[in-house]
Subunit: 152 residues, 2 copies
């Protein structure tokens, strides 16, 4: 296990595998820990080649899932909503009408496509702009820490 | 001079100062070396708090400016177009109807605001989506090189 793998939490490792799969396998752009509105933070936000917006919440354990009282609020911020879990997770717990991704720190796979509930054009445009700002800000923080850390 | 400063070209150092100023001073999100369409690469693409799109071309010398036969094509990809130069640059060379930013590797300042030529809504949406994809891809390449480098 690499140093990075040891430093990341289980949910973050799962998010990494999900991001790899969506980026390399489906041509999506992906960011992590995106805040669509104050008080909400989604694990993975993915922007597809046709402008599709997917949200993926990563659950590392049954307890992690059971303590999440907010997930239904995320449905308003995406066209499709997925759970990502590892192979041990009791997937019977997961609610109907959501997508399912199973993965680990290195890769993932979509086992059940989420139903589509299309965002309005206005909300989509606002979300894409916020996605762009999030990604550019994090990128600047890594490229030019003197400037970027002030923005995080 | 830091190692990074020694590795970057003069135009890239200027772009860094421009990005710092637009991000910290004006609340813009910034990316570098953005390709709005095949065959064109803009030095700095900036996305403003209200969705404004600015392009900044960084010119480190008179020769650098004189050899640029493409700049007018960039006007179609932004609401406002700027040149960024250092304090030694003969600014009389710069064409009318463009903005002027003077800076160095550490900061910059807008000396002349560019006139506004508003993009159409469709092109703006397409550009913001491409901006988002560019920033997310570069960010992934830095955060998770195993996945990200395949996408650059």
């Amino acid at each position: 296990m690499s140093l990075e793998d040891q430093l990341l939490m289980p949910g973050q490792l799962l998010a990494r595998g999900v991001c790899r799969h969506l980026a390399l396998g489906h041509g999506f752009s992906v960011i992590e820990e995106f805040v669509p509105e104050r008080g909400r933070r989604v694990d993975v936000m993915a922007l597809g080649p046709k402008g599709e917006i997917w949200v993926v919440e990563c659950k590392s354990s049954r307890a992690d899932f059971m303590s999440d009282g907010k997930w239904q609020g995320y449905l308003d911020w995406c066209d499709r909503y997925f759970w990502a879990v590892d192979q041990e997770f009791p997937t019977d717990l997961l609610p109907e009408g959501t997508g399912l991704i199973v993965g680990d720190a290195y890769d993932a796979e979509i086992l059940r496509m989420a139903p589509e509930h299309k965002l309005s054009g206005a909300r989509r445009n606002a979300l894409v702009r916020r996605f762009a700002a999030h990604a550019a800000r994090r990128l600047l923080a890594l490229r030019d820490p003197d400037a970027g850390m002030a923005l995080i």
